[in-house]
Symmetry: C2
Subunit: 394 residues, 2 copies
């Protein structure tokens, strides 16, 4: 099915990847180039092509995903969508994204700036690296991309055009299933250690929890607020001490703002839960900072908004930020749970070698997730969130 | 602009309207036909074409609207959209809609079943007619069209396809402005009697109210729940004692379910406010009935849903209906206000000849509308709504 989307599609090899970038004149005709495949081969081929004066990345979508053991057909259109999200978000935060050098819908590929001098944030955080600008940058990225594509910034004709353009049903379905449905029911995509069975069973029979998850999922299905990244975990962010670059927005679509905000916070929380007391502080500060910077940039943009006269009503900004925060806390809860017992895990947890510690942390993750989902109406500030975390780290 | 949408567009005359239906073979070649233009000429031409054995309606969109004094360019695509909504809704409630006999995108017209044996409900109610089946039919119409096009009934791919198909920015903008924005600000589209200036001024300076309207408008802008009618007032419904037919869904789009429910209830409330105590009871019963029948049909469909496993979670249905009800009450409030002081009025109010009664009722309408908007979280049952109405009718 998916292959038929693009009749001219062919999977690149190292050789044809080189030929392709040559044809784009990104390198000189006689320049000596080396190429290596650096992706994990799950969803995409990723080639790095280097000469002695420059390097670029080609990311090509595969017509299937290997996430469920065998291959799963998946639209090649996601390559174009990813390139389009990068371009749209790049209008607002070019310094926080890789530059798109070329894209090819037929071949389902994007040629991008090489970011190999940076580290994937998840890996860096696991090995204890510190990124002092990370949360300030992500706060800015979130505020500017999400505000600028919302009904507070755009004429409704333009906004509705973008909603239609960024319709992304296939990738959304993955999130609808793997984040917001499967972990809460006894289905075979779930994946958890036997010792967690009792905690998981409690979760599956917790109707109060499932009622709240139903609402969070429904918001994901129906609320077309802003053009999201759609998969903003710490594996989608490259960083160094000074620089931050957000990659891989192939799950982008018009959805609830709190989704992007919540996913990022959830993945910082994994680090809070796995670190010891001293090393945890810096992550807690990052959590605080991302919300503070996000709300600061968002508020500035709001105050300059001329599209919607209701932005001038006293209390409207605070009320809207409260909605985003509540939505984000719900997403944090779902993400914590799904990355612990669902199909797709995180190295932060699975990488803990001592099994009693690992199981302890995983139980804490599930319980914290449940508590956030159920109590999100009462967790209305970032300090209340941090306080809630304390109970699961002491 | 709008004319350029359809290069083959030409406005029909009585003669060409006849020729057109002949070409469709809806009448015999030599049949004697009479034609009359029965529309108000504001947005559409409406021709009734009759022979001695049948009659049909041709509704042709005009490339402009005359609603603001002079003409306002308006997309001709709305004709196709209207025909498509009729067809989609017709899959679920064919008995409550006119049959679509033909549609022509180029000419921006739809040929439909003639409903001239029925009365426009607004006119009927104003002259005191009673439609014993009206609210049961509308409750069924609302439940079946709105449930069947929602994420509770459709696979997400199908639902998202429909969201894109029924994107309707131009007509939505009219609602965004005239229902949810202009009446709450001092702008020139508003239209109210000088004696209301003080009450209107209070409304414009009521920040608490405006904060709530901001949320209701935002839901209209962002919540793609179901394929709405989008303009379900009593002027969009034909009825007799036994039959009910919903017409004119050119404002159709994917929006919040409570919008359709609330608009219908609002227009019944105009009748509550203008009638004397004895004649009011039957309308109060209609208000109760539409919600009861809506929730009954909606609940039945929900219980049979297999798309979303969360529908089986105890409390999920009740929680969802509570959301719809709250959304509906907010829309009732906005609709009451905008039809009193905004650009587009209703005969129910403007037709009251005695000016002191008219002004009294209009003030009540504005105050009731404001109260419903502000207190909608506390009005959670239809009997609480009816109780709230009492204060404005005694």
């Amino acid at each position: 099915m998916a292959v038929l989307d693009n009749i001219g599609y062919r999977a690149l090899t190292e050789e044809s990847a080189c030929e392709y970038v040559k044809s784009l004149k990104l390198f000189l005709p006689d320049e000596k180039m080396t190429v290596e495949e650096i992706g994990d081969g799950n969803l995409n081929y990723v080639y790095r092509i280097t000469s002695n004066h420059k390097s670029v990345i080609i990311k090509q979508a595969l017509p299937y995903a290997k996430v469920v053991g065998e291959s799963w057909p998946l639209t090649l259109k996601r390559a174009k969508l990813e390139a389009e999200v990068l371009k749209k978000h790049g209008e607002f935060v070019p310094h926080l994204l890789p530059a798109v050098l070329a894209s090819d819908e037929e071949l389902a590929l994007t040629v991008m700036e090489d970011l190999s001098h940076l580290t994937i944030v998840r890996d860096g955080l696991i090995q204890g690296d510190h990124y002092p600008n990370l949360s300030a940058h992500i706060g800015e990225y979130l505020a500017k991309t999400l505000f600028s594509t919302s009904d507070f910034a755009l004429h409704p004709f333009e906004k509705k055009k973008l909603v239609a353009k960024f319709s992304n049903p296939e990738l959304c379905k993955i999130t609808e299933d793997l984040v917001f449905t499967d972990p809460f029911f006894d289905v075979e995509t779930n994946d958890f250690e036997a010792e967690l069975a009792e905690v998981v069973q409690q979760l599956w029979t917790n109707d109060k929890l499932k009622l709240e998850v139903a609402k969070i999922k429904y918001a994901f299905l129906t609320e077309a607020e802003s053009l999201l990244h759609g998969d903003l975990h710490t594996g989608s962010i490259f960083a160094s001490k000074s620089e931050t670059k957000v990659i891989d927005p192939e799950f982008g679509f018009y959805g609830p703002i709190g989704f992007d905000v919540g996913q990022y916070i959830a993945h910082l929380i994994f680090q809070v839960l796995v670190r010891n007391e001293n090393d945890r502080i810096v992550i807690l500060q990052q959590i605080e900072e991302v919300w503070d910077v996000f709300s600061q940039y968002f508020s500035e943009a709001w105050q300059n908004s001329v599209v919607n006269p209701f932005t001038k009503v006293p209390g409207a900004l605070e009320s809207f930020l409260a909605k985003v925060f509540k939505d984000a806390i719900g997403v944090v809860g779902c993400e914590l749970i799904r990355r612990t017992i669902g199909l797709s895990h995180v190295k932060d947890l699975d990488g803990i070698e001592d099994s009693s510690i690992r199981l302890y942390v995983k139980k804490a993750t599930i319980q914290l997730g449940s508590s956030l989902i159920i109590n999100r109406k009462n967790i209305v500030t970032i300090s209340q969130l941090l306080k809630e975390l304390e109970a699961y780290t002491s």
